[in-house]
Symmetry: C2
Subunit: 407 residues, 2 copies
């Protein structure tokens, strides 16, 4: 935490008036508290460089707003008067929605990072966007009744396995689901009356791992997520989510790494997604469907030479892809999620060797490859970050809705 302030870019940069200073300081504090769960006031002081008295003032404003609570330190350490601990409040809640081919999962997450509820609604294969919206809205409605009356709702975050135009929350293409140009955001917002933020699932996973998982604290991150629907990717550049002009950035699975004619789920050939396929492994193991855990078991336990070859080919292809990302992004850490973690566990040395061979020394010498840490909560926690982000940016002015209307 000792870097200088991120320089504001001229493009779109404004002057700071006094109000913005206050807003910025409240925002920085609440973000720190959100990311760490609990922080002492004294560490807030040293981290921000602000005066003790200013921190005191800011924290009490956050407290009045209901975002944080202050407690005395349970186990004081070191000399001097023990500092008060500031904790993110459970009062503020966001909902997460994750539509899949056969189900839509809904969760409720607190600003402190606790997953309060999580519910997976099974649906007929290939639900329409509206089917998913209706199902999600119903669960959210019921979850709202289970919250305390005065709890505050930040909004809904939606993780889509496909490309999302972020500016208006429209799903451009979700190949698995068969959705094209679906205004999921406005539909769900209409039904629930809550602000909705939609983004790509891998980008959301990337942000979650950066904030709370394996890439915590890093500012240059590459994230790869592989599930039954192909390979998604995300990246953190300069500490910020790579989004691109419209939000389609970070499609790392669709980067061409070879001349194979196999096509990926989006119809592109020779891409990472076309060469590293979960389905191919399932087929090799003669499985029809399997959880990542079951697949992982089989991959670890395997001894057949033929299957070994398939796995090794996939590792090599993954290594080729990662090498390119290393050259492009010069990241501090690469986080693998989904069944890619099984490939990493199967033969980490082989993967690292491949990366070294395909990447420039300067970049590859510092990079670390890790497995994701957040597991099944990844997208629940990650999607909730979207509405929280709005609150964190401007704590004092963002109006939140109460869980239930007062009579």
């Amino acid at each position: 935490m000792n870097k200088p302030i991120t320089p504001l870019q001229t493009t779109g940069a404004r002057g700071s008036n006094r109000d913005l200073v206050r807003q910025h300081n409240l925002s920085v504090l609440l973000q720190m508290i959100h990311l760490h769960g609990t922080v002492s006031r004294s560490s807030l002081t040293s981290a921000t460089g602000l005066n003790r008295s200013t921190i005191s003032d800011l924290v009490s404003e956050l407290q009045e707003l209901g975002f944080v609570t202050e407690t005395e330190s349970a186990s004081p350490t070191g000399v001097g008067r023990p500092s008060l601990m500031v904790t993110a409040s459970n009062k503020v809640v966001a909902f997460s929605v994750h539509p899949e081919v056969d189900a839509t999962t809904v969760g409720a997450v607190t600003l402190s990072g606790k997953v309060l509820f999580s519910e997976r609604v099974l649906m007929s294969k290939h639900p329409s966007a509206n089917d998913s919206v209706q199902a999600a809205a119903k669960v959210i409605e019921s979850m709202r009744t289970r919250l305390d009356k005065d709890q505050l709702i930040a909004g809904i975050g939606v993780a889509i396995p496909g490309q999302v135009r972020v500016e208006d929350n429209v799903v451009r293409l979700a190949p698995q689901l068969g959705w094209v140009e679906q205004p999921y955001g406005s539909m769900l917002s209409q039904v629930t009356g809550l602000p909705v933020f939609v983004d790509n699932d891998a980008s959301i996973g990337c942000m979650a791992e950066r904030n709370f998982g394996a890439a915590r604290g890093f500012s240059e991150v590459v994230f790869l997520f592989a599930g039954s629907g192909g390979i998604g990717g995300g990246a953190i550049v300069n500490g910020m989510q790579l989004r691109g002009a419209s939000g389609y950035g970070g499609e790392l699975g669709h980067v061409r790494i070879g001349e194979s004619n196999d096509k990926d789920y989006s119809g592109l050939s020779g891409t990472l997604e076309s060469l590293v396929r979960r389905d191919d492994l399932l087929q090799a193991f003669k499985m029809f469907a399997a959880t990542d855990e079951e697949l992982d078991q089989d991959i670890r336990g395997n001894k057949s030479a033929k299957i070994q070859k398939i796995i090794e080919n996939q590792i090599d292809a993954l290594g080729n892809g990662i090498a390119s990302y290393v050259n492009i992004f010069n990241p501090e850490v690469i986080v693998l999620a989904g069944f890619l973690t099984s490939l990493l566990a199967y033969d980490e040395q082989r993967l690292l060797k491949r990366i070294k061979e395909g990447a420039l020394n300067a970049s590859s010498e510092i990079v670390v490859v890790r497995s994701a840490e957040l597991g099944s909560d990844l997208l629940m926690i990650g999607a909730a970050e979207l509405p929280f982000h709005r609150v964190l940016e401007n704590p004092a002015e963002t109006k939140l809705v109460t869980a239930r209307k007062r009579r």
Copy 2:
């Protein structure tokens, strides 16, 4: 210029005290003036959202510091009192250095973007880093005597055809020059007594085109530069230069796009740089050495089927690479420089078709491919941005050296 303020990232973010507000506002103003050359005070007012009187105060501080001059509008337009024009001063100067295999080029650029002097010092093939430093220092020394006594020097920017560790200005690897782990920055700083900033040439070119050339005003940019030393790349993400953890980011030429065994200048195979080679074209034209203009002539004039095939293969390879970058970055614009502009001019439709085929629709539908605009001044102007950047970040506090010592 209507976007909200770039959110400060929590990682490394600090609180804002009053001094920082002033610094930030001075910085924003000076950046705008630097980018536009001349801006009216009224447009500064609307662009920053600050009050008229505040702008007045800030501009006069910048004027006292010697960074800008105010003049009355030459040709007033519209009703109302004409606004004063604020112009970047010629008083502040930065030097640019660009070492190549056979020469080291040195330039002097003003904050207003004017190239005052430019000098190419021919050298024996493969000069050592020290050779280049000594040559550059000599030219800089002589240029200083040609400046006015009271002109201010922001520092020296160095564009290296190779990988640079930005934090300590060390050239990690410059294959063409044969340099490995050369502390070019500290060497040149030692000799000249000026602050030195070293970076990769393509990254510098990218920044220059974003600030003053074909990608002006865009915040999501991909830049590809091809010369005799291979293909360099740069990217602007979220309005900021893609640097990565140590500054090696943006090596787009070394991204694997095929299974060819041809190796590039860094020993990687199947990369864009190994498939799109200036030398291959020169060889086809039976030329030994040629300027980009000569090569361009030959490419345009060519009718031989064999050579046509070579050119088309290179265009196809370039298209494959760009398609991947489109999927990764979802850029607004792609800028091509060096002999890549000749490929673009030769058959733009073919290139665009290739990109469409290899990229996701959502991303490829908005992207534009352009030629670079800055020509031979590209690296001079771009490298000068490095020392200017330090000044622009903190105009009031950055101490500058006068061109010549006063007696």
